[in-house]
């Protein structure tokens, strides 16, 4: 008989961001669903921080084919075409799901969604709610979660998947007091989001530690294209503790221009056609290059300027940017911002089918933890769409899973207890491991990469992995688990980056010369499973 610390359900959804909440709402249609959240429901994850918008083909002059082509071109043709097709085809329907549930997206005229231009797209198809679009989505979803019978388990984290006969059958958890628990389910959805907290400079929330990549990898799942890390072109550079904080692409969408310290609109030298609204990989490299070549600002960025726009436009369309900068003493209506690239999004992740089935039976995944949708570079506005389109699919897939006998967990729980004992006798404060890791990843596996730099980062990750994070009391256990996940994710990124000996999308190998454009690349996905890491050769064969 299950004890107090065991919860049984039909579907377990791990993560309460945009994808997780959407998946849970769908899964609940099929049976008892648990929404497990490391934070309070809806307060974790990066959806709530997403500012710019949601891409959807809503205008008769736009087309799904155009959106599809933009997505593939932006993704340097590494996208899984089937996944990209699903994304663009279903994004409008999912947008209307949100509308049905009460979302308040801006309208251009009565009953017509307002849409703004975003980088790398040939049509203004980014729907928005000012610059708090992700917050709008989360507010909408959380209202529906509260209305539903979804069993919310809050401030409790999955630390390992519970496996039974090669299938996912639930998860081991730790609550915030460090008390272990077990959740058993017929199917599991991983919707834990991204993990760029492994970088020194990152836009991610504190929960962006890559837990889902590690959970899936340790359970034997396949991951694709883990080297593909999006560095968002515009992160704050000052004050020091605000470094990396996202400056939304909507700033450029609304007409913001980038200038170097010489006052030059330098994008003219990198992408004269698209200028500031080029794809994120191109703009990030341009900014990084300007700074490297000595044309940066005093705080080590470049200028992003909207002061030529009417103040009312800034106040209405970019209120959060205005508010955040005013907090730091900069009035963006009259002064330029200083910005530099910041680690933002992980394009790679768990390999999924269009039905969000991972390579492990009964294990589904959706949102940023998955790979393949965005290829080698994600278009701004496609991530929020991704959460809704694949959130629904994952919830549906998991919901339709057969009801099974609940797994026996006792022996496996004992292994977790051994893990805790190891942490209690740990050697190193977790934050020391994390800060060393962040520096190593930024230096060795950042915007510009070389084999030598990657190997140095790998050596550092190996050194850090040999240390045992110290748990200060039972409540410190979870942080130690998180450190292990961050190290695991870092290894996956470095291995992928070493194996991919080409520059493509967000992945730049400065030590490799190549004579092909992305669409002619001889390579496909990098695929990692267990200790194996391979790269597909053209034609599909690895």
């Amino acid at each position: 008989m299950p004890g107090d610390d065991v919860v049984d359900c039909h579907v377990l959804v791990i993560g309460s961001g945009g994808a997780g909440c959407r998946a849970a709402l769908e899964a609940q249609q099929y049976g008892d669903t648990v929404l497990l959240s490391r934070t309070l429901t809806g307060k974790g994850g990066c959806t709530i921080m997403a500012e710019g918008g949601y891409n959807a083909v809503l205008n008769e002059n736009d087309s799904c084919l155009l959106h599809y082509e933009d997505t593939l071109r932006g993704g340097a043709y590494l996208n899984d075409p089937e996944l990209a097709e699903v994304l663009v085809a279903e994004s409008p329907e999912r947008f209307f799901d949100l509308a049905r549930w009460g979302s308040v997206f801006d309208v251009a005229e009565d009953f017509v969604a307002a849409q703004r231009p975003f980088g790398g797209q040939r049509f203004n198809r980014t729907c928005y709610a000012g610059d708090r679009s992700g917050h709008e989505i989360m507010a909408t979803l959380v209202e529906q979660v509260r209305n539903s019978d979804i069993h919310q388990i809050q401030e409790e984290a999955a630390i390992e998947l519970l496996m039974e006969d090669g299938r996912a059958a639930g998860a081991f958890t730790l609550d915030r007091d460090g008390t272990p628990g077990v959740i058993r389910a017929d199917a599991v959805v991983i919707a834990t989001g991204g993990g760029t907290q492994i970088y020194d400079i990152s836009t991610n929330c504190a929960a962006g530690t890559g837990d889902g990549f590690a959970l899936g990898w340790r359970a034997g799942g396949e991951l694709v294209d883990m080297e593909m890390i999006q560095f968002h072109p515009t992160g704050a550079v000052y004050p020091p503790d605000a470094r990396g904080r996202l400056i939304t692409e909507a700033v450029r969408g609304e007409g913001g221009v980038l200038k170097n310290s010489e006052g030059e609109r330098f994008m003219a030298r990198y992408d004269p056609g698209r200028m500031e609204l080029s794809t994120r990989d191109v703009v990030s490299r341009a900014i990084a290059n300007e700074i490297l070549e000595g044309r940066g600002t005093p705080h080590g960025g470049v200028y992003l300027d909207v002061s030529h726009l009417p103040a009312a436009q800034i106040e209405e369309r970019l209120p959060i940017m205005l508010e955040q900068y005013l907090t730091f003493g900069v009035d963006i209506r009259t002064e330029p911002m200083e910005v530099a690239p910041t680690a933002h999004h992980i394009m790679g992740g768990l390999r999924i089918s269009p039905g969000c089935q991972t390579t492990i039976p009964s294990l589904f995944a959706c949102g940023e933890v998955t790979g393949g949708v965005h290829g080698a570079n994600r278009l701004g506005g496609n991530a929020l769409a991704d959460t809704q389109v694949f959130g629904k699919r994952a919830g549906e897939g998991a919901g339709k899973a057969a009801v099974r006998k609940k797994a026996d967990y006792a022996a496996r729980l004992a292994r977790q207890e051994e893990r805790f004992a190891r942490f209690e006798n740990g050697t190193t404060p977790p934050h020391e491991i994390v800060s060393a890791l962040k520096r190593a990843m930024w230096d060795g596996a950042g915007i510009f990469r070389t084999k030598e730099g990657l190997l140095a980062a790998q050596a550092e990750v190996t050194r850090l992995s040999a240390l045992i994070p110290k748990a200060y009391g039972q409540r410190g256990r979870l942080e130690c688990c998180t450190v292990e996940n961050m190290l695991c994710l870092s290894s996956l990124i470095i291995r992928g980056a070493l194996v991919r000996e080409e520059s493509r999308g967000a992945h730049v190998r400065k030590d490799v010369t190549q004579d092909w454009m992305p669409e002619r690349s001889p390579f496909g996905h990098t695929i990692q499973k267990g200790d194996s890491c391979i790269i597909e050769k053209k034609g599909g064969a690895a």
């Binding site: 307060k43 921080m49 509308a99 549930w101 009953f111 708090r132």
Partner: protein, 491 residues
């Protein structure tokens, strides 16, 4: 890097009955936020320090704490030397973590039974200001009504109005909001002040819900009486003695040359209940060189109607007042009632500038009085401090007026929003709390600048409650007496 010393309220449910304060000294970056100071304590001193945070950019609403008593987001506010960081005024779970789950799960969600469609522009514009809430519960922590009455709280009411405005959820929940304490809000604006997103919950939600309640006949009986009185007499207070306006001419000349000219919006309370106080104010203004117009056909500003959701004839009052004051030709309309001032400034669109007497005196410069040998404290009227952002002017006057001025925290006395008439027990409880706060300051006298506060606080303290202009007039009288004695001495 810099060194920062600050204090944190610690609480361990296993060993402590109540929180205790610990002082920490840490190294932080220039410009570090409170959150970074907490991180520094956790990393360098005590890894067990418990606090919530996530997005680090003011969007998720996880990290609200009280700093020196004021609810703020730890990730947005700069850490300051000597600050005291405490948990929100909610049940504390551990250190800075409070129980949020039960409140959040009780928030009503939109039920999609209406048609699926995007909004009209008008609907969008109406709902959007209520949509910025990040559910940090700063308002719930700060709300005075919630401490003493059955009230679901500011953000719950915000959410109710958001649903009421949304055509996709046609349910009628007005009776429910009344049951949830709609009429307990004193409209003190504390929730707006502490809201990281500055959502105007009283104006955009509470008063609007009260309008909906009015249409369903759910207005409190006492509030209905007031509305009928205003409709019948143009005044929200009955005449029981000679009014202020009956005692003064249409234009009052200053002592000496004319330095400025204002038109005085008297307000029902000063006209009919506290005419002596208004006469004190007039003398102070005369002495400082102001010619004062007092148009006699002015009427109630409409505040008692707006606060209680009875706005069906509000526009008539507004038109009358604007027309009457425009006719005086004055650029500045003077108020001394905090409620009238706040209403004219926020609920009217006026062709003239409205200024509170404290503003007029400090901006124009006022003659220094004799310093009175008393220890006083000042009660910030909500509708002056938060409603009009007038904080410093009365303090500037007091510092020139009394030997010793002591601050007390700015909290609602309970008189506003129709609560004193509608829910007297709640008003009395808030009044009692004010009385205790006054006692703690050790002041001999309470100064304020609002007729409602003056009336109400006087019932809950044994200290004299006095209007700031009355005290200023005393300061001048003291000065004149002194100089006469001097003259006598010279003779």
């Amino acid at each position: 890097m810099k060194t920062l010393t600050f204090t944190v309220a610690r609480f361990d449910p296993a060993t402590d009955d109540s929180p205790h304060f610990e002082k920490y000294t840490v190294e932080v970056n220039e410009g570090a936020r409170i959150l970074h100071a907490l991180h520094a304590v956790r990393d360098a001193i005590d890894p067990t320090l418990a606090y919530r945070y996530c997005c680090g950019s003011g969007q998720c609403g996880s990290c609200a704490v009280r700093v020196d008593g004021e609810p703020v987001l730890a990730c947005m506010e700069e850490a300051t030397e000597g600050m005291v960081v405490e948990a929100l005024n909610l049940p504390v779970e551990r250190d800075l973590m409070v129980e949020m789950e039960s409140y959040l799960s009780g928030m009503e969600g939109l039920v999609p039974v209406g048609e699926t469609r995007l909004l009209t522009r008008a609907e969008n514009d109406a709902i959007r200001p209520l949509r910025d809430c990040i559910e940090c519960l700063a308002c719930v922590s700060g709300c005075p009504a919630l401490q003493v009455a059955e009230f679901s709280g500011p953000t719950a009411m915000r959410q109710e109005m958001r649903i009421a405005l949304d055509p996709r959820d046609p349910r009628d929940r007005v009776e429910r909001t009344v049951a949830d304490g709609l009429f307990t809000c004193t409209t003190c604006q504390r929730c707006v002040q502490v809201c990281p997103k500055e959502i105007k919950i009283p104006g955009k939600a509470i008063e609007k819900l009260r309008e909906l309640a009015n249409r369903k006949g759910l207005t409190l009986p006492k509030h209905k009486e007031v509305a009928l009185l205003v409709q019948r007499t143009g005044r929200s207070v009955e005449r029981i003695k000679p009014t202020f306006m009956e005692q003064v001419p249409d234009v009052i000349e200053p002592v000496g040359e004319v330095k400025g000219e204002v038109a005085f919006f008297v307000g029902c309370m000063y006209n009919s209940r506290l005419p002596e106080t208004a006469l004190d104010m007039i003398e102070v203004m005369r002495r400082n060189g102001y010619r004062i117009h007092i148009p006699k056909d002015q009427v109630c500003c409409g505040s008692p109607l707006i606060r209680t959701g009875q706005t069906w004839f509000l526009d008539e009052l507004k038109h009358t007042n604007i027309r009457v004051f425009e006719k005086t030709g004055c650029d500045v309309v003077l108020t001394m009632c905090a409620g009238c001032g706040s209403t004219l400034k926020n609920d009217y669109v006026t062709p003239f500038t409205v200024k509170d007497v404290n503003e007029v005196l400090t901006e124009g410069g006022f003659e220094a009085p004799e310093k009175l040998p008393v220890r006083v404290t000042y009660h910030d009227p909500c509708h002056l401090y938060r409603g009009q952002d007038v904080h410093d002017p009365p303090r500037e006057i007091l510092r020139s007026l009394v030997e010793e001025f002591v601050e007390m925290p700015a909290r609602c006395c309970g008189a506003g929003g129709g609560v004193r008439s509608g829910l007297p027990e709640e008003a009395a409880e808030l009044g009692r709390q004010r009385g205790e706060a006054i006692e703690e300051t050790g002041a001999e006298m309470v100064v304020t600048s609002c007729p409602f506060c003056e009336f109400h606080i006087a019932e809950h303290t044994d200290k004299p409650v006095i209007n700031i202009t009355t005290l200023l007039r005393e300061g001048y009288a003291e000065k004149d007496e002194g100089s006469e004695e001097e003259k006598a001495g010279e003779k």
